[in-house]
């Protein structure tokens, strides 16, 4: 396995340890299980197919890198409420528009799920059959998609009005109402991680420059 794979393995191990400490190991394991189809296909491509296969070690290395990339953000959002994250970013100087875009992106999935549930209920009330055979379900998709998409577009305009009516575009910094606790240990850990990230980038660029 390449050095990048070992680095990813360390990231996975540290993430798992943090998940155990936070009591979120089950959530992390579920996120890892979601990668099973990718792992299986990687194994098949690299070990069974005659063309392009690079072997078992490469397949495992790719999977570990994937885990290293997906598990830390999963743990972050499993342990940190989005509102806390946004408040803290704003307290650290992130602009109001950037905070809004980030907040809207984080809220987009649950909001879309809620709207989809409303649309399904409304269409069922009008007699749309959303259960039964796959053919019936497939036929039921189109009447659901159109209101969902149009509703999402209309919500953008509504949201814009809501923000403008509440002076969102006012100049200057917004008031910060709460500052989250930030211990010395957390600050040290952040600087250490940032340093490791920098070192990793330098090592990668150096490896590329040397043609490896």
């Amino acid at each position: 396995m390449a050095w990048g794979g070992w680095l990813a393995a360390v990231v996975v191990a540290v993430t798992a340890a943090a998940a155990v400490r936070a009591g979120r190991l089950r959530r992390l394991a579920l996120a890892g299980l979601a990668l099973v189809p990718v792992a299986v296909s990687s194994l098949v491509v690299n070990t069974l197919l005659p063309a392009g296969g690079r072997g078992f070690t490469t397949a495992v290395g790719a999977l570990v890198v994937l885990l290293g990339a997906t598990l830390p953000p999963t743990l972050l959002f499993a342990t940190t409420p989005a509102a806390d994250l946004l408040d803290d970013l704003e307290a650290r100087g992130l602009g109001r528009r950037a905070v809004f875009v980030l907040g809207a992106a984080l809220a987009a999935v649950p909001r879309a799920q809620a709207r989809a549930a409303d649309v399904i209920e409304a269409q069922r009330a009008r007699g749309l059959d959303t259960e039964g055979s796959w053919r019936r379900r497939a036929c039921g998709v189109l009447p659901l998609v159109a209101p969902l998409v149009i509703g999402s577009l209309a919500e953008v305009e509504d949201r814009t009005l809501a923000l403008e009516a509440r002076a969102f575009g006012a100049p200057g910094r917004r008031t910060v109402l709460r500052r989250l606790p930030d211990s010395r240990g957390q600050r040290l850990a952040r600087w250490a991680l940032a340093g490791l990230l920098g070192l990793g980038l330098v090592a990668r660029v150096a490896a590329l420059a040397m043609g490896r």
């Binding site: 509102a83 809501a162 923000l163 009516a165 509440r166 002076a167 006012a170």
Partner: protein
């Protein structure tokens, strides 16, 4: 003071005028009601009187709309929000959907103004208290009833302390007890010198609250 001088408005992309040429003047401290059938242009009048149309939603405005002597088309939306605050008929439009507690939702406007934290807390507490919403402060705004959402939206507007108020059917989802709270709040705001425009179907409420009522 809010003045409409033959103000007519057409939504972006629309062929017809949603608001025909309308003249209206609201003096400071005056509460004026607007009645009219569905589709008569009450909501459009509210958007125009608040300046959000066309400042925030585009479209074409003819005639003039003045708030405290200044044309609304010359003001930025955040400035309009402080001079002529608007409550939409659908509270879902008014709430930002960004906050997990009612308190934060109500504090959103004052925070946007960059006021000192103590002043934000004071305004938020007063707005919640004025409408009897203290018990909702910790609730998720996305899980409120229609009536509660309407009151929270109004609290968010009052926390901004706009110079004047434009209210589009502010009691449409409220029972009699809560409607009385809104009436009391509106009367108090008007007594402080604000002009208030209320579009409403409830004739009895208009009769109780408004010095005069115009029809569209």
């Amino acid at each position: 003071m809010i003045v409409l001088e033959r103000a007519a408005y057409r939504y972006a992309g629309a062929g017809s005028w949603a608001l025909p040429p309308t003249s209206l003047a609201l003096r400071s401290g005056e509460v004026v009601g607007v009645r009219g059938a569905n589709e008569s242009g009450k909501t459009t009048l509210c958007l125009v009187a608040s300046g959000l149309a066309p400042a925030a939603i585009g479209g074409e405005l003819r005639g003039r709309v003045l708030v405290d002597g200044r044309p609304t088309v010359d003001m930025a939306p955040h400035e309009l929000a402080q001079r002529s605050g608007v409550l939409f008929d659908n509270p879902a439009v008014q709430l930002t959907g960004l906050h997990r507690r009612v308190y934060e939702e109500v504090a959103f406007g004052p925070r946007n103004l960059g006021l000192p934290a103590a002043e934000v807390h004071r305004r938020t507490g007063e707005a919640l208290g004025l409408l009897g919403l203290e018990h909702l402060a910790g609730r998720d705004p996305g899980r409120l009833s229609g009536g509660e959402s309407q009151l929270v939206a109004l609290a968010g507007l009052l926390a901004l302390r706009p110079g004047h108020l434009v209210l589009d059917e502010p009691t449409s989802r409220l029972d009699a007890e809560r409607s009385a709270l809104v009436e009391e709040a509106v009367a108090r705001v008007a007594a402080s010198g604000a002009a208030v425009l209320i579009a409403e179907h409830d004739e009895a409420l208009l009769a109780r609250l408004c010095g005069r009522v115009v029809s569209l």
